[in-house]
């Protein structure tokens, strides 16, 4: 009690029931609203401090570093201002980075829609009145629990991420060799990584499933009486209802695939940062790797914006 009295009744802070006196001079009225915002801010103060230290500061600092050539002398850090040269060097003098970046963009443009389509199909299958829903849900969610960099890398090395039947029965090969390479190459890539793509659908399936279960069953019955088949009711009822979810899923999928530790680009960025990959004098070190990370981030945001833009165009044209 004594401690409490000392804490709240001293020269700095003097608390009364209707006002607080700071430094014996500044009187601040205590209102219910102010008290509530003070308590609210104290609850999120943990996050504010954390945000400043572990998000805002690193983000600003890494952008700052990306404008410099950084040399480390023991503990000291030696900076030479370069302007946007690091960014320019990434595109002009670093063919490897450009190559893996383009590959990454193409991969995202292909894999994200496939992930979403498969997740939606699987969610709709599970949403049917069938037995063993729980078992299927458990199976399809399992990869979320066990997908880690080392495990996936091992499976890829041993060729367990492509379906054996695709390799063994050469039907697909036959189809692919008879197609134009512009169509066949992405198709081949798709079959090679289909398993990996499917393993990224766990969370998305659950999101779709939750959305599908919220759609009123009566709407389907009403449309059925009006003569709509399953195909029509999918395009006219299901899809518009879950459209907002697709935006969320696009963002989630793109981000989770982009930060997955086996992504070529992020491996390269880390190698540059640790000085394990050197291309030229400029294209090395902390400053350069910070620039690469920023380019990567910007490209990722552009991809997300592209998808979200496409989705909103579709929605507008439908309304």
């Amino acid at each position: 009690m004594n401690l409490k009295a000392k804490l709240f009744h001293n020269k700095l802070i003097h608390m009364h029931h209707d006002h607080i006196l700071f430094f014996n001079r500044f009187k601040v009225k205590v209102t219910a609203k102010r008290r509530s915002s003070f308590i609210g801010l104290s609850f999120i103060s943990l996050w504010i401090v954390g945000y400043l230290i572990f998000a805002l500061y690193p983000i600003v600092y890494s952008f700052y570093l990306s404008l410099f050539k950084v040399r480390l002398d023991g503990g000291a850090i030696d900076l030479t201002f370069e302007g946007f040269n690091n960014f320019a060097a990434a595109f002009l003098y670093d063919p490897y980075f450009v190559e893996i970046l383009v590959e990454y963009v193409l991969e995202m443009l292909l894999n994200v829609p496939i992930t979403i389509v498969f997740a939606l199909i699987i969610a709709m299958l599970i949403n049917q009145p069938i037995k063993g829903k729980g078992i299927f849900r458990t199976i399809f969610f399992l990869p979320v629990i066990i997908t880690t960099g080392p495990v996936i890398r091992e499976l890829m090395n041993q060729g367990a991420t492509t379906l054996p039947s695709i390799d063994e029965y050469s039907i697909i090969d036959l189809v692919i060799t008879n197609l134009n390479s512009a169509i066949a190459d992405p198709l081949q890539a798709l079959f090679d990584t289909i398993l990996l793509v499917l393993w990224f659908t766990g969370i998305q399936i659950l999101i779709f499933l939750a959305g599908l279960q919220k759609i009123d069953k009566e709407i389907y019955e009403a449309s059925m009486i009006d003569g709509a088949g399953p195909w029509e009711s999918f395009w006219k009822i299901t899809l518009p209802q879950i459209m907002p979810l697709i935006t969320v899923i696009v963002i989630y999928t793109t981000v989770s695939m982009s930060v997955f530790s086996l992504n070529e680009v992020i491996i390269y960025i880390q190698n540059v940062m640790l000085g394990e990959s050197t291309v030229g004098t400029l294209t090395t070190g902390y400053g350069y790797s910070a620039a690469l990370a920023w380019i990567y981030f910007i490209v990722m945001v552009l991809i997300i914006l592209l998808f979200v833009g496409l989705l909103s165009i579709r929605r507008k044209s439908r309304v």
Binding site: S36, S37, F38, G40, L41, F43, I44, L46, W47, I48, V49, G50, Y51, I53, F54, A55, P58, I59, S62, L65, I122, L125, I130, F136, R137, F140, F141, L142, P143, V144, I145, I146, T148, G149, P150, V151, E154, Q158, A160, L195, L198, W199, L206, I207, A210, K214, I225, G229, P244, L245, V255, V259, I266, Q270, M273, S289, A290, A293, Y296, F297
Partner: protein, 322 residues
Amino acid sequence: MMKLSALKKELQNMPKSSGMKRMRKILFGMKFTDGLFYKVSVYMLLIALSYIYLYPMLYMVTGSFMSMEDIIDVAVKWIPSSLNFENYSIVFTEIAYLRSLIDGIYLAIVPAISATVSAALVGYGFAKFDFPFKRTLFVLMIMTFIVPPQITMLPMFRMFSQYNLLGSIRAFVFPAILANGLNAAIFILIFFQFFRMVPKSLIESAELDGANAFTIFIRIILPLAIPSIIIVFLFSFVWYYNETYLSGLYLRGSDLLSLPLRIDQYISNFTSIYPEGSPARERMQAVKLAGNILTLLPLLILYFFTQRYFVESIDRTGITGE
């Protein structure tokens, strides 16, 4: 209307209808989606997809039991000729599995608990109080999810090395306790959605009884939030346990390693000793699979008992809109 009358007619004709018609009805049902044909195709598709999903797991499990002869023998593709635990015992002793497992769980559980506590506090603050710039702060919080760790890892790496946090679990606990750990935005969102549903009258009546905000949170709000707490803790635990990118950076060369990293390190040491194409190198394939199974085993056991919470999680983020 046309359809309805046709339906009625069909119903009247039912007893007289031919076997062909009845067959068709069993196969395709009244409205296609209730027919046998439809049901069977749904099950077939689901089973086929399950096989695709489980294939890598099956591959790992069967491969991990293969002996040297099985790997070399082309005839043995799927089922090992004998159940041999040799691969497991190699990994088990070489990496001191039990100690590594305890290390791995320790590295996951402490940050996970910190992340759960901080996410609950922050989620409650956002859900139940009004303060200036609340919307801005909330948007900033969600945005942290999009920023890839590659942006922040470099300054963080320097910061941690300055304060001697590299190679220590504190490099993970500090961000977690300040609600900026791995995927913290998702966890805060889960709590935010839950606390928003807690009726205001409950809090107000406790206030009338003289409880202060913190007491209300501990004594009344938290007991209600137990399912959310379990979900956040489980996800956080799994993600920290599986995390290899940042831990590879922060724990590099230290004694404390997460289990996936430890196995990874052991394998790369082992492979560098034996030349390409030697039998021992071939053998490594099976040993690696056994190592992976041993890494995943704790998670599989956890998932087996708690999968209900995992699959319920999405409803709790509220992204489907309430």
